[in-house]
């Protein structure tokens, strides 16, 4: 009993500290709650123009499409170089989702904040070269199209 009495003030102090800490923690977690970090989409031309990157191509200096946007969008390719038989598209998008790029035919892949794949779509001379990218409305993207004659 004597021991309990002797420790009573100490125990009260400890409980008080625990209580204040707990309340403080709650308060802090509500105001300073970390938001999930989402990397922004990086312009694919950064990789395509980098000679050390496996996606590098000389034609990167003359893209027929180089746009940034959010959600689904359509673009018309006004002037394709003569002899163009195919346009290779590179997409970066964020947050995680799945994109579809269509120009007559389509290709699809996972969203990544940097380009992870590409799709070369043949140019159909009979149809207007309109490119459509389909994404959730809150997903931001970069879309680059590089023409080729092979």
């Amino acid at each position: 009993m004597k021991i309990q009495r002797a420790h009573k003030p100490l125990m009260m102090a400890v409980l008080g500290v625990i209580g204040v800490t707990a309340l403080g923690g709650c308060s802090a977690s509500q105001t300073d709650r970390p938001t999930p970090s989402v990397s922004a989409a990086v312009d694919p031309l950064v990789q395509i123009k980098d000679p050390s990157n496996d996606l590098y191509t000389d034609a990167a200096n003359h893209p027929v499409l180089h746009v940034q946007g959010t959600g689904s969008r359509s673009y018309t390719l006004k002037s394709l170089p003569a002899g163009t038989t195919r346009v290779t598209f590179y997409v970066s998008c964020s947050p995680s989702s799945r994109f579809v790029v269509a120009m007559g035919k389509n290709f699809s892949g996972p969203c990544g904040h940097v380009v992870a794949n590409s799709g070369g779509i043949p140019v159909d001379a009979a149809t207007a070269p309109t490119v459509t990218i389909t994404l959730p409305k809150t997903t931001s993207f970069w879309l680059v199209g590089i023409p080729s004659t092979t």
Partner: protein, 183 residues
Amino acid sequence: MKKIIATVVLTAALLAGGGVAANADTPTAAAPAAVTPQGACPGGVVRYKASDSSKTFTQASGANSAVTGQGGVTLSISRSTTFTVSGTFTSTTGVTVSAGLAAIKEDIGVSVGVSHSGTSTSSGSWTVPSNWSYGRLEIGSLKHRGTVQKYIENTQCALNASGSAAIYNVPETGWTFVHVNAS
């Protein structure tokens, strides 16, 4: 003096013997103590034998390991992406992971690891056949499934199984692209 002469003679004989063997390029006779009867083995030698029961392609984890397109579309996967294919090796008291992987390499003829991770040296660029509605390009590894058994060779050169076999389901340490008709 006798001792010195004997030593010199013995040394000369040994050198001459070595020279003959080296010139003729024939195996030297083993010392009498090491000679065993023909067909007999020293006994107690540990050997491991791997048996593959299946080999299947396994797509690398992560969404970036596949891309899909319609017929006529050329697909490729970036070589800068790091891919991973995981496996399992259930070792036993007789067969450790390292001994088992070495046995697979020797008996099956492929290099494997419990897990394979890294970048590819190829983009696997591929054009979906025009008569396909959709095709999918996937990157992954060939995964081997089987067992590794430990044996102890007796003096009659017979192999006696020792303990239980280890079970493996492990990827090759290389990348493979597959083309899937996703029509």
